[in-house]
């Protein structure tokens, strides 16, 4: 479903120093599977999520990103979104003055139009919002607030998963979704993500720790270091990393 081949990327020189961050990432996530990417700070995990989503701050210098057989490497962020790629941000952005539901309805219908589908009606959208909010314990009051404004770190992550439920993407990238969550919130978020699992949908879970993976039970765990995938294995790999740390990959950074 998602195929990343020999992906090289660097910070766009306009944004800072000319720094290569991804140095040949190879990764394939078939439909229906959940893959985790773990790695030490600074290994390029978050860059990978930005590059997949098409952030202009990064330049792809080599390699390809194929999504359902299509090369999406040159597409605009919204075109990738319309194809079903959803990024749950590590630091969800606050957008003052724009109510969450207004924003989501705009987004849902923009995606639908781009795919040639009928737009969702206001009553259907509201009904769906109420159902999904209930699943995540999100109050009506939270929905009325502007996008992410005034939310705690944990609430923002919950709202990201709520947005995923609303937009029903084909593929989710969860970037450090567990950071800033206490144990109860982690459980709620994990349940939300698990509810999104189905045979047609793929997921890439980027995380530093294995605690979210205890709830999500990934099919494959990859270790990223020095801008590359250096090891892949089953869920047991995550436990090994938790016990042994990332020290043994330190040499890969070169």
């Amino acid at each position: 479903m998602l195929e990343i081949k020999n992906l090289h990327a660097r910070v766009n020189p306009e944004e800072g120093a000319d720094l290569a961050i991804l140095k040949g990432v190879d990764l394939t996530v078939p439909a229906g599977e959940v893959h985790a990417v773990m790695g030490p700070n600074g290994c390029g995990k978050s860059t990978l999520s930005y590059v997949l989503a098409g952030h202009e701050g990064y330049e792809t210098t080599d390699g390809a990103i194929r999504f359902e057989g299509e090369d999406i490497g040159e597409l605009e962020p919204e075109e990738r979104a319309a194809r079903g790629l959803f990024l749950s941000f590590q630091y969800p952005v606050e957008i003052p003055g724009v109510p969450t539901l207004t924003f989501l309805k705009e987004a849902a219908n923009a995606q639908r139009r781009a795919r040639g589908e009928a737009e969702i009606s206001a009553p259907d959208f509201m009904k769906l919002a109420r159902e999904n909010a209930a699943k995540l314990g999100i109050s009506n009051d939270m929905l009325k607030r502007p996008v992410n404004v005034g939310f705690s770190g944990g609430e923002k992550k919950r709202m990201e998963i709520f947005q995923a439920l609303m937009l029903a993407p084909r593929f989710l990238i969860l970037d450090e979704t567990d950071s800033g969550l206490d144990i109860d919130a982690l459980k709620v978020v994990a349940e939300g993500v698990n509810a999104l699992r189905n045979p047609e949908r793929g997921m890439l879970v980027i995380t530093h720790y294995q605690r979210l993976l205890d709830h999500l039970k990934p099919d494959v765990v990859h270790v990223m270091a020095g801008g590359r995938i250096v090891e892949s294995g089953g869920p047991e790999l995550a436990h090994k990393l938790e016990a042994e740390g990332y020290d043994k990959y330190a040499g890969e950074a070169a």
Binding site: P77, E78, V93, G97, K105, E106, P123
Partner: protein
Amino acid sequence: MPAVKETIEDVRRLEADKYKYGFSTEIEQEFAPKGLNEDIVRFISEKKNEPEWMLEWRLDAFRRWLKMDEPNWAKVGYPPIDYQDAYYYAAPKDAARYKSLDEVPEEILETYKKLGIPLREAEVLLGVEGAEDVTAAEARERPRVAVDAVFDSVSVATTFKAELEKAGVIFMSISEALHAHPELVRQYLGSVVPVTDNFFATLNSAVFSDGSFVYVPPGVRCPMELSTYFRMNAQGTGQFERTLIIADKGAYVSYLEGCTAPMRDENQLHAAVVELVALDDAEIKYSTVQNWWPGDAEGKGGVYNFVTKRADCRGRNSKVSWTQVETGSAITWKYPSCVLRGDNSQGEFYSIAVTNGRQQADTGTKMIHLGRNTRSRIIAKGISAGRSDQTYRGLVSVHAKAAGARNFTQCDSLLIGDQCGAHTVPYIEAKTPHATLEHEATTSKLSEDQLFYARQRGLDEETAVALLVNGFCRDVLQELPMEFAVEAQALLKVSLEGSVG
């Protein structure tokens, strides 16, 4: 708020033509000769069949104007205006004799149709095409709006007259009011903006062509929103409207003013005066969407908009609220103000100003606190894009006797691109220890992070910009009457097209 969806759809319609109001109507005009002198002033007065005192008033203003200097303190630059190289009067022929809408020439009605003002309809200005998603709006009764349309200089049609008359509300062109209610006009005209107030107001006093007159009698809540669409049409004509609104004791009126102007290559001068008088316990809400032709991307053409708007909160507990959405004009010079004379009176100013291309705007407000326990609130949102320059200029002045006065001011500027300017120039004066004045201002740019986030969720760049700008302006947009909010949001997007990327 469902309006955002409507906005997007509205905007899509508007996108087809960046300035859809840029057309001109072929219609015969009657001009005064070019130039400005006492004979022109007499010509205008005579054309309108005015009483002698009115002519004297105009002549007095004209003579004073000759001795005045054009103000130069605003942060706007333009070539010198040749006041002798313009027409000061243009009326559609036979304009004064319309008895009903049926007599109005088809071209004029067509113009209004293109502007989205279906005069023939009872519910005017509502239900902008394609607005299906108005569950909330449909639930409530559609407010009705009476229109006094100004086509260049003469008011061509007035709707809803009968119903307003029943309520005792007087709503007519000011020329008409001079004949029908001379005592009211004489009592209040120039009582808020004196003849010698400033260069442009004095010019207006000498040559004002037409405008609206509203009087709401004591205790009457005006049964509908009153609206005027100003529109300049004839090439090289200045537009000098004069509006006078009086809310007598305990009265309420909401007045909407919308402006669009046809596309022109040469600059057009616009110097309006609006006077509001609120007596004891009266309230006036005055909303404007200003979309005069801003000139092209190189700064050619466009309207020079020098406007004097002032409200006198004369009575106790009176309240005046100005709301403006300014997207048009090459030059804007405009400071809708409140003189808070009555004890416990309140003034509000809510403003969105957008400049793009080579537009220059110097706009803000003045809140003059004279009475006790007077309150004022200023929320100004400025968006600068392209190579434009925008200045918020505001005065909050609290006099020694205004114990208990309070003001809150918030000015936020948003810059889009690195070739524009955004400036804030507030003047704050306090002469009593029993006052509290707070002022905050911020300047920021459109956030790349917000843009990326919105695009990751599937919105294209222009829609994302419009959404973010609407969010930035939300505090002001929600002060606008529903039908104006929709138009305003559409205008915001159209005005900012091409400003990103």
